[in-house]
Subunit: 426 residues, 2 copies
């Protein structure tokens, strides 16, 4: 199905009025940026760019969409005629997926007529606000987890389609796998999972449940050991699976203390290679608090898919330039109290010091020379309506890890604070 | 596309192990409930039930899904064969959409074999956790707004598909319209919107922009007046549209003070019937604080689609009964520290006093007589695999308004607290 109706009503009424006044065909530049990083975060993570490219290609008004718009009198016939032929034919530049952003970073720049650019506002912001929020939270969790793997398992705590996008964003930001099969199917993300408490409760005893699971999934499986009594379950698990038991999962109680006890018990039983997976309302703070505990992997659900307190990224899509009768692009900006915008087409560079650390997010307006030691951040994504910036998800994941490594140390601090890299305008 | 892969990996590995052990065909009862109401909320709102019914009907493993599962070795061949024929053939009972719920309310009860019931966990929880969270927040906003209409306009702040579900949940809980065209198309919710700041900035002057909008959308339109200077914009707006101007929208600044000034100015200009719409990071608290201001309608975005601090409803899906060799259903419950479950098939009644106020959420286990003055809360939704509980969205919306009217007064208090109606087990 087309995504063209994933659009706010007012985009189309603006289009109608602009078609009638003639302003619809003015060239424009729209820019996606965040005025601030919500939640006192030190940096944001760009995610969703690849999904934006997919959706722009599918953004078409077919019979079904046009019939709805006509029957509900959303717009008039000339506007319907325009929409029937709608194809985005402009250019889009953007920060690459997995890269970092800071306040005012122009993470996406859309150039086209007003008509073709304005109608993309809602779909672009929906995708980027969601995916960047999830990736930004996931990155903090990845930092906190260090080398220990993270499994994304929050599907049940968010909208069914948002869950798939969340798994994708988490993978970019360092998660290793997801429970979500659709994310595996659509994006090739490794999927993982073995059993829930229901499986144990289904059988007449925990022993029967473990026997059934091992018989079917092999001794390398992960057994869930907290349905009744953890110590008894661990004993049963090793008895049945032997020292080749892959892992045990603990999903309740004080996870640090429980992991310590279970590790000692496993070692005493000779199951030195059996790993311990912990789950249960983990977030970046809980993960950090478990750094000294004998935990081998973390499963994260609710806090990941809800952005760990920041479920949306505060990104906006603003008109920053348009041409007028002269045919020259002219900067425009609103002056709304507390929410002013900064006019003009932007260019962005990340300034690096000799040691390869990011020092400044430099934002230039209009024609300029590339600054020395500045890494250009805007890349071509769409050229005259054709997607040219597609890349494999693995590239975004690798880029993210490399980008985090350029941050100053305080950027990894979990407490609230200011952006780790200051934004400067020139 | 089928929703069958909107499923956690472990549902299918459990299925595989249970098919091999034979336990897969045991009759089971799963129950959806919340251990608590997050965020100190006084009540929860049931939403998403209709979407669950739609998705269960579409929950099929076709060639595409089976090929993915086979190629990625998620499950073995006998399990794939089972999934190829998968049709839910059991019964589902639930609270009706728009109704209220409290801690432990069994808002959905799924009866079927373990195999057919367990694989529905993720899709059912995704839908209900999201939609109930949004509806619960929306209901508080509706209470705060009183008779003034609420427009849902948060699409750009959440995942593009979650946005459609959010508009639906908000409508159930009392919102009057949405900006989301897909929600209008799929669910018949009234859509609304006129123009953004970009439209004003596009034109060479605010006057030209207003002229263009009025020429196309008529004087009854809503003009956005805070792009530059509010007083000047209001003067221009009335000058161009005359006293028939439909409304002005204020999107920044101190909304109470701005609304007061604009009302006085409109009245002085003779535009007594021109309404004032306010938007800009409104939530239930901000709406309540504007009760005395001359505001005619509220537009709510971010806080609505993110559940106003509670983006997910903490609902879980637990096995509460299953049969064993005897063929008799037996209650089962886990004993996990801090997260115990309560076994047995539940029945729920809302106990009412003589004045029609809800006094208790009464939850009974197993066979029982219907209590006097108790309104039964569980209704048949699916009978032997066939959906029987579908209803128009308007029914849910009306039910919600009626249900809120039965709550004790303190339920409408916006501060954190305990559930407004206590849950009792018998």
């Amino acid at each position: 199905m087309s995504t063209a109706l994933h659009t706010d009503h007012y985009e189309l009424t603006m289009l109608q009025a602009a078609l009638q006044s003639g302003a619809a065909y003015r060239r424009t530049v729209f820019e996606v940026f965040a005025r601030h990083l919500p939640g006192g975060r030190r940096y944001g993570v760009v995610a969703g760019t690849g999904r934006v490219l997919d959706e722009i290609e599918r953004f078409r008004f077919g019979d079904e969409e046009l019939t709805f718009l006509r029957e509900h009198q959303v717009v008039d016939e000339p506007t319907l005629a325009y929409l029937a032929d709608y194809r985005f034919s402009g250019n889009i530049y953007g920060y690459r997926e997995g890269d970092l952003y800071f306040p005012a970073s122009p993470i996406m720049v859309v150039e086209g007529t007003f008509a073709e650019a304005v109608v993309l506002e809602t779909i672009i912001l929906s995708i980027l606000n969601h995916d960047c929020a999830i990736a930004s939270a996931a990155s903090r969790m990845s930092n906190a987890a260090g080398a220990r793997p993270l499994i994304e398992m929050g599907s049940r705590r968010t909208h069914e389609s948002a869950a798939v996008a969340a798994a994708r964003a988490a993978y970019i930001a360092g998660f290793n796998s997801t429970s979500n099969l659709m994310a595996g199917h659509l994006y090739g993300i490794p999927t993982a999972g073995t059993a829930a408490h229901a499986f144990t409760l289904l059988h007449d005893s925990e022993q029967e449940a473990f026997e059934a699971q091992i018989a079917s999934l092999g001794p390398e499986t992960t057994l869930l050991v907290d349905t009744y009594d953890v110590a008894e379950a661990v004993r049963t698990a090793v008895e049945l699976a032997g020292p080749k038991l892959g892992a045990v999962r603990i999903d309740s109680g004080d996870l640090a203390a429980a992991a310590q006890e279970v590790r000692e018990q496993l070692d005493a039983l000779g199951a030195h290679h059996t790993r311990i997976l912990v789950t249960s309302d983990l977030d970046e703070y809980a993960i950090a608090a478990l750094a000294a505990a004998p935990v081998d992997a973390y499963g994260v659900g609710t806090s990941l898919v809800t952005g760990s307190g920041v479920p949306t990224a505060a990104l906006v899509y603003k008109l920053v330039a348009r041409d007028r009768a002269t045919g020259r692009l002219e900067a425009v900006a609103k002056r709304s109290v507390g929410k002013p915008s900064r006019g003009g087409r932007k260019y962005a560079y990340r300034m690096m010091d000799a040691a390869g650390r990011a020092t400044t997010e430099l934002i230039l307006t209009g024609a300029h020379e590339s600054p020395e030691n500045g890494v250009p951040l805007l890349h071509e994504l769409v050229r005259e309506g054709v997607v040219v910036g597609r890349e494999p998800l693995s590239a975004a994941r690798e880029r993210h890890a490399a980008a985090v490594a350029t941050l100053p140390q305080e950027a990894l601090h979990l407490g609230r604070g200011y952006a780790a890299v200051p934004t400067e305008f020139s």
